[in-house]
C-alpha cells in the first residue's frame, strides 16, 4: 500500500525529471539525452528575472515574518490578558483561510487603497501568511521552555545581552530557524496569493511556470520545474536538520 502511494506521489516527478533531459520538444517518445532545455532555460532572461524576484520576495518575507512572528509568539506565550484569545485567533486565521480567499481579499484591499500592484504587494502578502507559520513554530518551542532559567542567568550576574546570546538564542534559535525555513519554502512555492496580488514585473517562479504552460515550449518548463524543485528540496532539508536539533 505504502509502495502504491509512493508510486502515485513520486512517479509524476520522476517522469518530469526524465522528460527534462529528453531532446524531444513535446515529450512523449524518448529521443535521446540532452541538456538543451537547461541551456535554453538559462538563456531566457525572463526566467532569470522570475528567479531573482522569487528570491527577493522569499528573503524579505522570511526576514520580516520571522521577526514579527517570533515577537507574536513571545507575546502570546508571556502575557496573559483577555485580548490574547483574539490575538491567538488572528495569528491562527491565515493558516486555515483558503489561499484564494486571502488572495482576493488582499487584492481588493490593495486596489481600494490604490496601491500599485508589484513586488511590494507580493512581499506584503507573503509576510502576512508566513508570519503565522513562524509564530506557531516558535510558540511550540516556547511552550516547553523553562523561563526560570532566565532568572537563574540574571541571578548569576548576566545582563540582558548576555542572557540573549548565551541562553535565549542557543535554546530558541533552532525553533526560530525552523520557522524561518518554513516561511522561506512557503513564500517560494506560493502561487495563488502571488497570482492575485502580483503586478507587471513581479512574476515569481511558480507564476512563470504557469504562464509558460500556456505559451512557452513545454520542455523548458520541465527543466525549470526540476531546477525549482531541487532548490525547494534543499531548503526543506536544511529546515528539517534545524528542527531535529533539540535540547
Amino acid at each position: 500500500m505504502t509502495f502504491a502511494v509512493m508510486i502515485f506521489m513520486y512517479l509524476p516527478i520522476a517522469v518530469l525529471i526524465a522528460q527534462s533531459f529528453n531532446s524531444s520538444r513535446y515529450g512523449g517518445r524518448w529521443k535521446g539525452f540532452s541538456l538543451k532545455w537547461y541551456e535554453a532555460l538559462f538563456r531566457d532572461s525572463s526566467v532569470i528575472n522570475a528567479t531573482l524576484n522569487t528570491l527577493v520576495v522569499a528573503l524579505v518575507a522570511t526576514l520580516v515574518s520571522t521577526v514579527i512572528g517570533t515577537s507574536a509568539a513571545w507575546a502570546l506565550n508571556r502575557y496573559k490578558s483577555r485580548l490574547q484569545t483574539s490575538h491567538y485567533g488572528l495569528v491562527y486565521a491565515p493558516l486555515v483561510v483558503p489561499d484564494v480567499l486571502m488572495g482576493i481579499s488582499m487584492l481588493l484591499m490593495f486596489v481600494s487603497f490604490k496601491v500599485e500592484l508589484g513586488l511590494t504587494t507580493v512581499i506584503l502578502a507573503h509576510i502576512t501568511f508566513c508570519l503565522s507559520f513562524v509564530a506557531f513554530t516558535v510558540l511550540a518551542r516556547l511552550q516547553d521552555f523553562d523561563f526560570t532559567i532566565l532568572q537563574a542567568a540574571q541571578d548569576l550576574g548576566a545582563g540582558p545581552w548576555r542572557i540573549l546570546w548565551k541562553i535565549l538564542l542557543p535554546l530558541l534559535g533552532p525553533g526560530i530557524a525552523a520557522g524561518a525555513m518554513m516561511a522561506f519554502t512557503l513564500s517560494m512555492d506560493d502561487f495563488v496569493v502571488t497570482f492575485f496580488v502580483g503586478g507587471p514585473g513581479s512574476t515569481t517562479l511558480p507564476v512563470k511556470v504557469y504562464s509558460m504552460m500556456k505559451h512557452g515550449p513545454p520542455a523548458i518548463i520541465n527543466a525549470l520545474s526540476v531546477v525549482f524543485m531541487a532548490f525547494t528540496f534543499t531548503v526543506a532539508i536544511l529546515g528539517q536538520i534545524f528542527t531535529r536539533k533539540k535540547f
Partner: protein
C-alpha cells in the same frame, strides 16, 4: 557573628492580595536561617524579594550595611538555588557552574580551577561533561548549588531545594547541604514547608503564617516555647486545651483552669493577666504515665482511660480519654519494653506533667 543581612518592614501586594505583611528579620553572618511555613504563607515571595526578583511595596533590604532594595538581581552579591534547579539545558555541568565566573569576566584558567574545586565540593568530579538531562535529581540539585556558590555570594538563597526529591535522597541531601555549609561557611536563607528539614539544618527559624512572621528562634526555642497556637501546632505534635487563668501565683506562674480537668499551676510565659482566656498546649512526650496516683506534689495530674495504643519500637503512643478530652501522649522506652508490665486497652491510668512543661498561649492573635 554580626547582623549582616536585614529585611526591614517588608510589604508585598499581588493585586489585592497582601502576601507579605510587615516582615522584618536579621540574619547573622555564616548562619543557616530558615523561613518555615505552610504553602501560600509568603515565604517564597520573601526569598524572591531578597534575591531581587520581586520589588517590595514597602520596606528596605540591607546587605552588609548597604541598602540593596533597588538593586537588580545581577547587581546583588546574592545567589539563588531555584526549586526546579533551573539548570541551563544546553550547557554541560561544567559550563553551568562556570556561567557566573565567565559572566564576571574571570580569566579562563581561573574559571577552570574554580569549577574543578566546586565539582570536588559537590563530589561530582566525574560528571563535568554531562548535560543536565542525563544526571539524576540529586545531582542536578548539587550542580545548582555549585553554580550559585562558585560566585562567592555573601548570601545563598535556597527555595525548597529538596522538595522535588524522594525521601531517601532528601535525607542524604540534607546531610550534604549541612556538610557544604560547614565547608564554605556562606550564609544560607532556606525556605521550606518541612519542619524536619528546618529543624535539622537551621541555626534559627522564622515560622511564617499568612504573610507574617509568627516567631523567630532556634529550633529548640520554637519547639519548646512557641509563642502562638499556630507555631505550637505547625512544629511537632501537641495537645490543645481551652482554659482560663484564674489567678497569678507569682511573677512566673499562674493557676489555670483546664475546663473539665481541674485547676493546675502552670508557667506563665507571656505574663498574661488573671481572667484571660487562653489555649493550653502540652506536647505528647511531656506527659508521664503512672498506673496509680503518683506521690509527687510537683506534678500536675488527672486520671484517664486508655483508648488506643500504638507500639512504635523506640516509643509507644497512647490515646487516652479524660472527661471529654482526647489526649495524645508518647512514652520513651529507656528500658526493655517486655520486662515491665505495660498498661493495656481500657486501663485506668494517671497522666502527669510538670508545671514548667505547659505552654500558656494567648487566645487573641497579637497582630
Amino acid at each position: 557573628m554580626s547582623d549582616f543581612f536585614e529585611l526591614k518592614n517588608i510589604e508585598k501586594y499581588f493585586g489585592d492580595h497582601h502576601v507579605v505583611k510587615d516582615v522584618s528579620f536579621q540574619v547573622k553572618r555564616g548562619e543557616v536561617f530558615s523561613l518555615l511555613g505552610p504553602s501560600g504563607c509568603g515565604k517564597t515571595t520573601i526569598l524572591r524579594i531578597a534575591g531581587g526578583f520581586e520589588d517590595p511595596n514597602g520596606g528596605k533590604i540591607f546587605l552588609d550595611g548597604v541598602d540593596i532594595t533597588d538593586k537588580s538581581p545581577n547587581k546583588r552579591k546574592i545567589n539563588t538555588v531555584f526549586q526546579n534547579y533551573a539548570l541551563f539545558p544546553h550547557m554541560t555541568v561544567e559550563d553551568n557552574i562556570a556561567f557566573g565566573p565567565r559572566t564576571a569576566g574571570l580569566e579562563e584558567s581561573q574559571v577552570q580551577k574554580k569549577v574543578a574545586e566546586m565539582l570536588k565540593i559537590i563530589r561530582l568530579e566525574n560528571l563535568g561533561d554531562r548535560r543536565p538531562d542525563t544526571i539524576s535529581g540529586g545531582q542536578k540539585q548539587r550542580v545548582a548549588i555549585a553554580r550559585a556558590l562558585i560566585n562567592n555570594p555573601k548570601l545563598l538563597l535556597l527555595d525548597e531545594p529538596l522538595a522535588a526529591l524522594d525521601l531517601k535522597l532528601r535525607q542524604y541531601m540534607l546531610l550534604e547541604l549541612d556538610r557544604i555549609h560547614d565547608e564554605v561557611g556562606t550564609t544560607f536563607i532556606y525556605v521550606t514547608h518541612d519542619q524536619g528539614e528546618a529543624m535539622s539544618l537551621s541555626d534559627r527559624i522564622a515560622v511564617m503564617n499568612n504573610g507574617r512572621i509568627e516567631q523567630i528562634g532556634t529550633p529548640a526555642e520554637i519547639y519548646e516555647n512557641p509563642h502562638t497556637k499556630f507555631v505550637a501546632s505547625f512544629i511537632g505534635d501537641t495537645n490543645f486545651f481551652d482554659g482560663r487563668i484564674t489567678e497569678k501565683i507569682d511573677g512566673e506562674y499562674c493557676k489555670v483552669d483546664m475546663f473539665g480537668l481541674g485547676e493546675f499551676p502552670a508557667y506563665n510565659e507571656h505574663k498574661l493577666p488573671a481572667g484571660a482566656d487562653i489555649t493550653i498546649s502540652i506536647r505528647p512526650e511531656k506527659f508521664r504515665v503512672f498506673d496509680k496516683k503518683p506521690e509527687n506534689e510537683n506534678l500536675n495530674m488527672f486520671e484517664a482511660q486508655i483508648i488506643d495504643i500504638v507500639y512504635q519500637g523506640a516509643q509507644t503512643r497512647y490515646w487516652v480519654k479524660a472527661k471529654e478530652h482526647r489526649i495524645n501522649l508518647v512514652t520513651q522506652h529507656n528500658r526493655c519494653y517486655l520486662d515491665y508490665k505495660q498498661p493495656t486497652w481500657n486501663d485506668k491510668i494517671w497522666v502527669a506533667w510538670h508545671r514548667d512543661d505547659v505552654m500558656t498561649l494567648p487566645n487573641a492573635n497579637p497582630h
